[in-house]
């Protein structure tokens, strides 16, 4: 389809709109607090990296970053691992109650976090898991497992069933076929599923905040505590905020070639 000569203006303007608030955050992180609060400057007049030094030099900042990355990674591994066999079952077989089960799984993707924050606290306390990485990782499975099943099922349905049958005739057992033959075939699907699990666990705030309060406090809880206190240190807050953009930017860069395919399935 031929596009007009000036078609590029639309995405260019949109990207400009996306980048402006991000620019402001980064610019603030490079200013001194005096400059932020007393003068209005479009770019840092006195370029300083002190705010970043403060974040990196503070054990509390380092540990909240580590906590968040820890539960996000745990959740990604758990979600993809349990979703793989289930997605295979949905893509290859019909069984009693499959449609209802699939619909019910999807409704959990839509479940409002605010509804679950209260019972989660009591459930995980009862199991002695409150304020641990694994509690948040398990709780985020609420929406990430259905999502992973949905994405993987789409990729698996694209693999012809004859491949399964040939492998069984060749004498492969189910586990050996699944790990050695099938998983390499849907490697890009596993990548896309892991990407979206990482993304939704990384951005979530309400549940993580309810389940990990002190010992394993997530980064966003600390940002919340500091940003709504009086006498906010804007420079440090902006620096820490800027640093939270980096994990996302890195994973997007890795999946940039698969991302369009993941969206093509329409299964986000």
């Amino acid at each position: 389809m031929k596009q007009g000569r000036f078609a590029w203006i639309v995405p260019a303007l949109y990207i400009l709109f996306l980048m402006t608030p991000i620019y402001w955050l980064v610019a603030m992180s490079l200013k001194t607090n005096v400059e932020i609060t007393t003068r209005f400057t479009l770019w840092p007049e006195l370029l300083t990296f002190d705010n970043y030094a403060k974040v990196f030099g503070d054990e509390r900042w380092r540990s909240v970053f580590a906590n968040s990355l820890m539960y996000v990674s745990l959740n990604t591994v758990i979600s993809v691992a349990v979703a793989l066999p289930a997605a295979y079952a949905f893509s290859r077989y019909r069984f009693f109650g499959d449609k209802h089960l699939f619909f019910w799984l999807l409704t959990n993707r839509m479940a409002p976090a605010a509804v679950f924050a209260l019972p989660f606290f009591q459930l995980y306390s009862a199991f002695g898991l409150f304020d641990t990485h694994i509690a948040v990782a398990l709780a985020h499975c609420l929406f990430n497992v259905p999502l992973a099943v949905w994405i993987l099922e789409g990729f698996m349905s694209g693999v012809p069933r004859e491949i399964d049958e040939t492998a069984y005739i060749d004498g492969h057992s189910f586990p050996s076929f699944f790990v050695k033959i099938f998983m390499p075939l849907i490697a890009s699907g596993i990548g896309v599923a892991a990407f979206f699990c990482f993304m939704f666990s990384w951005v979530e705030y309400l549940i993580a905040d309810a389940l990990a309060r002190s010992a394993v406090m997530p980064i966003t809880t600390r940002l919340q505590a500091l940003s709504q206190a009086s006498g906010t240190d804007w420079g440090v807050l902006a620096a820490a905020g800027t640093l939270t953009l980096i994990p996302g930017a890195i994973v997007i860069w890795f999946v940039r070639n698969y991302i369009a395919k993941g969206f093509a399935l329409g299964r986000v």
Binding site: L25, L42, A83, R92, M110, V115, W202, F263
Partner: protein, 285 residues
């Protein structure tokens, strides 16, 4: 047609156990609370549908519900056309494609609290670029609910339009060139190409975009919380979070969840009706 195999349940079992732990048990706890009164000495008393009646007669609940529905409708009315417009004008090949995709995906990967924080810093009339520029027009989202409302809509457009654009783009690039050649031979106008080729081909991904955007804006909590800290406008999740009485909170949760369930079911039925398949089949099959 797929073979029937009841042993497939063994493959689904881990998911079932996990989701039962993270969804069913908590939900049952909520149901339990919603029909009881918890006294100060932690004694439970059966109260039947008292809390439900209380919520359904509560003006605050209805206000939050309508406010949230209006918000969701505004979001859809802006983001869906805008996302399609951007997708139509995005480059189809060359270096522009990864650049567009990576930059556009960036807001989606920012923690929701940080999204709110970015807009708080951007919109404040003392230190924010946006706020300072609009200060002279009387803009101040901290005092004026209308300005706060405007800021939240703009923030959501900033945050989520990329999702719609990327879904629509994925639908567009899957259209074979032959369709466009046929249209050219027929001398079809740009509008009819859009109306009769591009829009139908984007149908499925757009349904999903509408579903996701409706649901997520209907459950919005974190971003407004970061910007206005529970002030006006109060959305449904905020109202839920601010309710203190346990039973009332639980009853409101159940009503909220039922609305979500009903909407999901309507969308699911619409999505699966067209292709006659038992479940939505992806583009790769």
């Amino acid at each position: 047609m797929k073979p029937v195999n009841q042993k497939a349940w063994f493959l689904v079992a881990p998911v079932l156990l996990l989701v039962a732990f993270t969804a069913i048990i908590p939900l049952m706890t909520v149901v339990n609370y919603s029909v009881q009164y918890v006294a100060t000495n932690a004694q439970f008393h059966w109260v039947g549908d008292l809390w439900y009646r209380e919520v359904l007669h509560s003006e605050k609940f209805w206000n939050a519900l309508w406010r949230n529905l209006v918000f969701s409708c505004i979001i859809l009315a802006i983001q869906i056309p805008l996302g399609v417009l951007i997708a139509l004008n995005m480059p189809r090949k060359g270096w522009g494609v990864p650049v567009c995709l990576v930059l556009m995906a960036l807001p989606l990967l920012i923690p929701w609290y940080v999204v709110g924080m970015i807009w708080q810093m951007f919109g404040r009339v003392d230190i924010g670029l946006f706020g300072v520029m609009l200060r002279d027009f009387g803009y101040n989202y901290e005092n004026d609910p209308i300005d706060a409302w405007f800021t939240l809509v703009l923030m959501d457009v900033w945050h989520w339009t990329s999702l719609v654009a990327m879904l629509a783009y994925a639908g567009l690039v899957s259209i074979p060139d032959a369709y466009y050649q046929a249209a050219r031979i027929d001398g079809a106008s740009k509008w009819s190409v859009f109306r009769f080729i591009q829009l139908p081909k984007m149908g499925r991904v757009l349904t999903i975009a509408i579903l996701l955007r409706f649901m997520d804006s209907f459950m919005i909590f974190t971003e407004p919380f970061a910007v206005i800290a529970g002030g006006d406008p109060v959305f449904l999740s905020t109202e839920l979070k601010q309710t203190v009485e346990l039973g009332q909170k639980a009853a409101m949760s159940i009503i909220y969840f039922l609305i979500i369930l009903l909407t999901s079911w309507v969308f699911y039925t619409v999505m699966t009706r067209d292709d006659g398949a038992p479940r939505p089949q992806g583009g790769v099959s």
